[in-house]
Symmetry: C2
């Protein structure tokens, strides 16, 4: 992999973004912000899954008050993760959220009225010492940057250019009042458009980038789209923080996010299950076993590789490389630990023995 | 995206691979090959999902006979997709599968005994005019290419080099008897190792590449790992055919495979659902609606974009860009078709109206 792109570093409520900091993972609550109980409960779940930056949308005055309440409850409960206010259209809500203790404001300078309003927000944020994300989406591009017609010779390229231009326009506007602690995003629901827009931004500014494919879809298809887009960008050294945007419980987003980071060897959290797809060679009922092992490992936060393999072709090789592994034979399996065979187990007892071995391994590490 | 890497073209039972041909999608049956009924039934399902190359493992003599029966049944049923025999350890099974009508042999010249045996297989395949895939996996590397110890300074790099070397050794062996219609794979369960091994192969030979991350895991985590690995390679122009290896029903592999291709704009098959992740702004129960829409579109093979969006921020923009779209408001939604608002629909009727609009759109296209 090429080295990470070098950027300015921006601190978001204690979490450094860019400038060599570890890539941070974020998500967004999808409760009503005014439902403080439900939002707090979701925030706790997100934190438990490793979320480092929490964002909540602030669509009206009532949400400003709730946002303030949520931030102070978080602090009372010892949740130090930054809370970001997501703002659209109304700059007064941004000003309110800054007053309410937001650790960052995410807004699009291109959809908040005349430039003076964005400047007013930037000035207030600067005075309070909090960063801004200039967040541009293909579905809500600043009017001046929208493409003239529905069809276009090379619409993807033009749209990526428009997204980057619109974001850079916002960055310059904030720069004009000296607000330089800015993170930039330019997301499209199209993966190639998102990739191209971020490549342009990576070349044309020194701000940290919040990357992502927006509105990627429901769990499985959205995870695949996100993994392709984020995988390509991260493998090019682009991206300092990111969110996986799925139409599902946001807790699921975090699993997918860490799965992407772990796939690229950037950062491990939790178990990695290597499981063979099975074929005519497999003499045990492997797929339910692999699923059970994965479920078993769901709560584990330590990085641990477990191989669940169906036959002697790749089984012993993969089982030996993993921390723990099963290489199945006919109605039984060899159990491996740190490269050594430690037991030969009948099929019916494989899950139980593996569960014990996982517990032993984890307790021996802690 | 960079141009596709140029390669020799190899024909697999009527499906061209490499040399500018469209990237083909394949899968593998996971029934017992000797269970001809079950295998035929799975083959029909795979074909129905767009699978272009079918592979079955041939682990013993009985499977050779069944393989022959399956191939002739496929032809009788008008299933023209090539059937590939997956062979390990025993070169006589490869010779048997060639006689039995295999359209390609996949084997690893490094795990089939002394080189003379691989040469015997290559000669038989050449005489019959069928291609070979030299398929090397990290879990079953040729002994001479295995890494000496469990730990290594830069094990990923060393393993990628060993995988590529082992595959290239096999290719040369086949070349030595004039068998040049060879496709190459070198898969690891580690994404960075797979990516690096394929980059080496892409630089160091002119054979078409069958890419993939092997033993990627269960459905969601395995799909993410595969999407990252395949996404990075395909975005670099590397890869001529591929399989997504998941520990699940192989039909699911095909959905993920097309999802990866479609994400990169390489090839579309079926619907693309753009769905917002929802937030405090969303005033309808959007996630179940998005899931229902996706389910509704499952059988659709035509490329169609449907946006299911929760609010006015990105909703109208995305709904307008899609073939069909919903931009939800409070308890209702605007229905878009080809960029125009065609109806305002109460929340409870959105799915029904969208279903009608999908049917209309599809029938108007056919």
């Amino acid at each position: 992999m090429p080295p990470r792109r070098s950027t300015r570093q921006v601190e978001v409520g204690g979490v450094p973004v860019g400038g060599g900091a570890a890539i941070s993972v974020q998500s967004m609550t999808n409760t009503k912000t005014t439902d403080v109980e439900a939002t707090m409960s979701q925030i706790r779940s997100l934190i438990d899954e490793g979320c480092q930056i929490i964002r909540s949308s602030v669509p009206d005055e009532a949400s400003v008050a709730s946002f303030k309440e949520i931030k102070s409850r978080m602090l009372r409960e010892g949740i130090t993760a930054p809370l970001v206010a997501d703002i659209h259209f109304d700059h007064r809500l941004a000003l309110g959220a800054i007053e309410a203790g937001a650790d960052k404001i995410r807004f699009n300078p291109g959809n908040i009225g005349p430039p003076e309003r964005a400047i007013e927000v930037a000035t207030a944020a600067k005075n309070k010492g909090i960063p801004i994300r200039v967040g541009v989406n293909a579905g809500s591009l600043r009017k001046e940057h929208q493409l003239p017609d529905h069809s276009h010779d090379d619409r993807n390229t033009a749209l990526a250019r428009a997204l980057a231009d619109s974001a850079l326009w916002g960055v310059e506007l904030l720069d004009s009042v000296g607000h330089e602690d800015v993170i930039v995003s330019a997301k499209a629901s199209s993966v190639p458009v998102s990739i191209e827009a971020y490549r342009l931004l990576a070349n044309e500014c020194d701000k940290p980038l919040h990357i992502g494919v927006t509105e990627a879809g429901t769990t499985l298809t959205g995870a695949v789209k996100s993994a392709v887009g984020l995988g390509v960008l991260l493998s090019e050294g682009i991206g300092d923080t990111f969110r996986v945007s799925l139409a599902t419980d946001p807790v699921t987003e975090l699993g997918v996010a860490f799965n992407i980071l772990s796939s690229l060897g950037i950062r491990r959290r939790g178990a990695n299950v290597i499981a063979c797809p099975t074929c005519s060679r497999c003499d045990i009922d492997l797929i339910p076993l692999a699923e059970a092992v994965e479920l078993e490992l769901k709560g584990v936060k330590e990085p641990i590789d477990v191989a669940v393999m169906g036959c002697v072709v790749n089984g012993p090789g993969e089982a030996r490389e993993a921390d723990l592994g099963i290489a199945a034979g006919k109605g039984e399996g060899l159990l491996f630990k740190n490269g050594e065979i430690i037991d030969k187990v009948p099929e019916g007892e494989l899950l139980v023995r593996l569960r014990e071995a996982i517990a032993e391994l984890i307790s021996s590490r802690s």
